[in-house]
């Protein structure tokens, strides 16, 4: 999208006039590893949700916390912080 804009489309001083438009950006494609949740080990403590620097982990209706892979950059902080070792990361190439 941005690579189609002309110089005439540029905002004065590159100001971004809308708040929250980072959500349009698919940061999930930066990922080289993705988190996998083992629901049998998960104690639903929500620490992964608190620590995720991109707010990419969301509570589900059944009380678990799962990564939204559209945004998750695969930093692995959730796996490191999980006290129950319920989150592991695997290479994107692995199934």
């Amino acid at each position: 999208m941005a690579d189609k804009l002309s110089w005439k489309d540029m905002e004065v001083g590159n100001i971004v006039k809308e708040a929250g438009n980072a959500s349009f950006r698919k940061t999930g494609d930066w990922r080289t590893e993705r988190p996998i949740l083992d629901k049998e080990k998960c104690i639903k403590c929500a620490l992964c949700w608190i620590y995720c620097p991109d707010a990419a982990i969301k509570p589900s209706e059944d009380g678990y916390y799962e990564a939204d892979l559209y945004y998750c950059k695969g930093c692995g902080i959730c796996a490191r912080i999980c006290p129950a070792e319920a989150i592991t990361t695997i290479e994107e190439e692995e199934k």
């Binding site: 110089w7 005439k8 001083g13 590159n14 100001i15 971004v16 006039k17």
Partner: protein, 390 residues
Amino acid sequence: MSRRVALEASHAAAEAAKMADVDVISAYPITPQTHIPERLAEMVADGELSAAYIPVESEHSAMSACLGAAAVGARTFTATAGQGLELMHEVVYIASSMRYPVVMTVCNRALSAPLSVWGDHSDAMAVRDTGWIQVFCQNNQEAFDLTLWAFRVGEDPNVLLPVMVHLDGFTLSHVTEPVILPEQSEVDRFLPRFQYPFALNPDKPMTHGAFGPPEIYSETKLAQEVAFRNSKEVVLQGWKEFGDIFGRYYHPVEEYKTENAETLLLTMGSFTETAKIVIDAKRDKGEAIGLISLRLWRPFPFEEFRRTVKGAKILIVFDRCISFGMGGPVFSEVRSALYDEEPRPKVVGIIGGLGGRDMSEEDFEYVIDRGKEIAEKGPEKMLETVGIRG
């Protein structure tokens, strides 16, 4: 009623900032600073001026604080000189690229080493590419006038660019001359309140200073350059409005006795007034000589400059700076601006007045005589200079 008072240029610039009713002043108040922030600090402390005065730990911080103030829509002012401008350099670019209309007076000084606080144009030339509108003053009245005018132009919604007002260190900044101070009501008529259209506001969040990936950086820079060049229209409009209210009219290229001049001398800043005395003497002797002074340095006034020198046979450019390995920066720019013109004068450059070295009438006489000689015979030396011991 306007008042005629004796002021040094530094205090004249401070008066202009005060009459512009600035909201925020941020400055590093130690060497190489001038009396501008000192006087403004007094005004704020004495209650003469209601503004936030932010003393910071360096010029880098001074300009950074100015950007923050401008981002919320404050009328913002700072001043610096020489080394201070160098330390500020990184943030000077950011001000123009983020389109914050900060006004800054620079009391032009040499750059170290050797350690020097004395005047020349090295500091100004080091920031020529930073995207600030830049003008040069010849005397103390102009220090007042152009500082006031700078707010009018920079803050115009069609401009939104920072403005740098150059005045010569010591020969203007510390020298007292009569200055006409206008009525506050006249100033208010000339200068509307600053209405920054993109002021940061918690009720309407937006992002200033986001990063620019390769997909948009080039387009951004082109947009900035177009806006910068287009600002000249408001520069001229601002000078017209200023003249209509205060009676003093300014021009991108100031002319003195240029009519039928075969030889033109080009100077910038306060030394122009010394050069005028020499022009008078040579005109009295029947020499077809005139003087031009670049008032507007950026955006470069191509059109006005070419029109002014059209018809002259020789143009002698006096520089107070060395671009190492290249020569005089004004000389090389001016010569480049004339390259496509036909016919065009022979352009020669002479460098002098560095680091506080004075330029006497005799020195300017030499500049003119030697300049004509070089134009005739061609350059004989790597660098032509005046007043530098051989």
